[in-house]
């Protein structure tokens, strides 16, 4: 009886105590920022939310969380703060001058594991790419600050963000990010090892006022302060012309030179991931078409199954690959490239010395020869490589319209299809060939 009473008593105290999400024991400092960078480099994997168990065999407390791009960036900071009993404070996106922090006690009836998960879900309801500028600041292009734990943000126009998992020694970031546009986005994050297209990142406002570019977390005491007062605030990245931005930034951040062969291999890999990822995204749309009633789509359904942003990102990756290949040829004639690599690039860019528009006009259909790169099955029994997909994408054959069937989505026929012609379409993307 006595034991039971004591048990009841202790249970009662546990359930009624007013608890923050976590109690901060430590305070942010340069040493903690270093540990944050080490943790991000080591732990911030694409399966961070998708693995059921941790490497030590314990269950993953973050398993199953689905994040969009901004959620992903904030999660990185929140989880580290939680696991190390550091404060997490951000500006309240609904009220200037106020903050949201780990001190909230709305989840005090839950166990600690449940509290952090609920706090993350709460934050996902609050944050967006529009809140990121309030909690971060633009940094100088230096490895001291452009490192694991930093992020890249686009202008409002393109509303996207990436977390920097690691700055590779070649001056290129390993980015971890996510996007929830699409029907079947899971908990697995996405990754790439390249700078995103600066013309897309800074589109519409290549100034500090656009808030785009590389940013880092503000110290707690600078939340709700003017951004230009944050120590380390720098406008350097906005002074670099966009057509030189990637090369300039990579050179500034590189510890060792990336060989031409390595660079081409890396950029081809990034482009290939775009092609491979498109297969499942298009299949989502095609599967929906099979079951959907005939007729047109609402905006929400159309937006879910269309792929203009995805197609533009793949296009941008091709442009980046092409631009880098041209630079190599102008600098050393490609004498560092292997004969295999030259053949592969020649297949993708057969008229590299001409403009993109001219090359697109002249390029003819290709088959899967020995020089094919990234051969991908896009429909049952049908394969495509980077060269043929590039030809179709650049010539406007690839359809991002979910009302089109597979032959149009993959550019075997030029759209729009009859159904697409009859219905309203939104945000249709077409390639811009007027850049070099």
């Amino acid at each position: 009886m006595l034991r039971m009473g004591l048990l009841l008593l202790s249970f009662f105290f546990v359930t009624t105590s007013q608890a923050a999400v976590w109690t901060e024991v430590n305070q942010w400092s340069p040493a903690w920022e270093d540990r944050f960078a080490e943790w991000v480099k080591r732990e911030w994997q694409i399966d961070f939310f998708a693995r059921k168990t941790l490497p030590n065999g314990q269950s993953n407390p973050y398993y199953g969380l689905r994040t969009d791009c901004a959620d992903t960036v904030y999660s990185m900071r929140i989880v580290f703060a939680y696991e190390n009993k550091l404060p997490f404070v951000m500006q309240d996106p609904t009220a200037s001058g106020r903050t949201l922090s780990n001190k909230m006690n709305r989840f005090d009836k839950y166990s600690e594991d449940r509290r952090i998960k609920n706090f993350l879900l709460y934050m996902y309801d609050m944050v967006s790419t529009k809140s990121v500028p309030n909690d971060t600041y633009p940094v100088a292009i230096s490895r001291d600050i452009v490192r694991s734990g930093a992020m890249i943000l686009t202008t409002t126009l393109n509303h996207h963000s990436w977390s920097i998992k690691e700055m590779l020694p070649i001056g290129v970031p390993h980015l971890v990010y996510n996007s929830t546009i699409g029907a079947t986005t899971g908990s697995t994050l996405q990754q790439r090892q390249s700078w995103p297209n600066p013309e897309w990142v800074f589109e519409g406002n290549n100034t500090p006022a656009g808030n785009a570019g590389i940013r880092y977390w503000r110290p707690v005491e600078y939340i709700n302060q003017p951004v230009w007062k944050v120590p380390g605030y720098s406008e350097e990245q906005y002074r670099v012309p966009l057509n030189k931005w990637n090369r300039y930034t990579q050179n500034r951040l590189a510890l060792k030179r990336e060989t031409d062969e390595q660079m081409m291999t890396r950029l081809m890999h990034v482009t290939c991931e775009g092609l491979v990822g498109r297969v499942s995204a298009v299949n989502d749309g095609l599967n929906y078409l099979k079951t959907a009633p005939k007729g047109c789509m609402s905006y929400e359904v159309y937006d879910t199954y269309s792929t203009p942003s995805r197609d533009q990102r793949v296009f941008d990756d091709y442009v980046s690959l092409r631009r880098s290949y041209r630079d190599i040829l102008s600098i050393n004639g490609g004498n560092e490239l292997s004969s295999t690599m030259k053949a592969q690039l020649q297949k993708i860019f057969p008229f590299i010395n001409e403009s993109m528009a001219s090359e697109t006009r002249k390029m003819s259909a290709t088959d899967l020869s020995e020089a094919a790169v990234c051969t991908t099955q896009y429909l049952p029994g049908q394969y495509i490589d980077l060269a043929e997909f590039k030809r179709r994408l650049f010539s406007g054959l690839i359809s991002n319209n979910p009302l089109d069937d597979a032959t149009y989505r993959w550019g075997q026929l030029r759209g729009p299809s009859q159904r697409a012609k009859m219905c309203k379409s939104w945000d249709v993307w077409v390639p811009n060939l007027n850049q070099n």
């Binding site: 009886m1 006595l2 009473g5 004591l6 009841l8 008593l9 009662f12 009624t16 969009d68 404060p87 404070v89 309240d92 996106p93 609904t94 009220a95 200037s96 001058g97 106020r98 903050t99 949201l100 922090s101 001190k103 909230m104 006690n105 709305r106 709460y122 309801d125 609050m126 967006s128 529009k130 409002t156 126009l157 393109n158 509303h159 996207h160 996007s179 929830t180 546009i181 519409g204 406002n205 100034t207 500090p208 006022a209 656009g210 808030n211 707690v220 005491e221 939340i223 709700n224 003017p226 951004v227 230009w228 406008e235 937006d303 269309s306 792929t307 203009p308 942003s309 939104w426 945000d427």
Partner: protein
């Protein structure tokens, strides 16, 4: 009847203590929280007394949100004129002496080519005294560059916003009609006809903070405290 053993006394004392705590839990924790929830969460349908008025003097360095209203718009210093002179002498020469006058000058004399409002926050007071916030924000999870998302919040006992589900048929106007707007915050981007750009934050239609890119020279101000590097 034999004497009551010490163990029995202790047991009954414990039981009574626990009952006392349970009563405390019921009245102070459960009922009180329910009252707070009613104050903040039932769209003003119930007649309840107003909550304690929120303090008007927030500590800008405090990270505890409870009981504080948004920032007191007091600048630390006023160096607007010298900063404007440095970043945009041609405009300073037009006797533009305040951020309000600068925005007026840019909008009317230079002209706005395009204005994009990225965030609008409305702080509402309902008839029952409870608080709501309405947020209209450029959406992230879409292919569209200009799709807006409407968000609606109540405030919890600590003053933290909590998102409320919407049916999908609401508009900004219909949500604002639920109460009285006490404060409006707006963040926008302006592209001017001469190619210069402004990012502007206003509170109750007054300039709070802006960055003006005058063809490469960046004038940044919060109220009248400015920087032109």
């Amino acid at each position: 009847m034999g004497p009551i053993k010490f163990k029995t006394w202790l047991t009954w004392a414990l039981v009574l203590f626990v009952l006392g705590l349970l009563a405390d839990y019921y009245f102070l924790h459960m009922l009180f929280h329910e009252k707070q929830a009613v104050l903040n969460g039932t769209a003003g349908m119930t007649e309840v007394p107003s909550p304690t008025p929120l303090s008007e003097t927030a500590d800008p360095n405090s990270t505890d949100n409870s009981g504080t209203e948004p920032d007191v718009d007091t600048p630390n210093r006023d160096n607007f004129n010298e900063s404007l002179q440095k970043c945009a002498p041609e405009i300073a020469a037009q006797a533009v002496a305040t951020p309000e006058a600068l925005m007026e000058y840019l909008k009317k004399s230079v002209g706005v080519k395009q204005e994009q409002i990225n965030i609008e926050n409305y702080h509402l007071a309902l008839a029952d005294g409870s608080q709501r916030r309405v947020q209209l924000i450029s959406a992230d999870n879409t292919n569209s560059a200009n799709k807006k998302e409407l968000r609606f919040f109540k405030l919890d006992a600590q003053g933290y916003p909590e998102r409320l589900a919407l049916k999908g048929t609401e508009t900004v106007e219909s949500l604002l009609a639920m109460g009285k707007v006490q404060r409006t915050e707006r963040k926008s981007e302006l592209t001017l006809k001469d190619g210069s750009q402004v990012t502007l934050e206003t509170h109750d239609n007054k300039v709070y903070e802006f960055q003006f890119n005058n063809h490469g020279k960046i004038l940044s101000c919060r109220l009248k405290e400015c920087q032109c590097p």
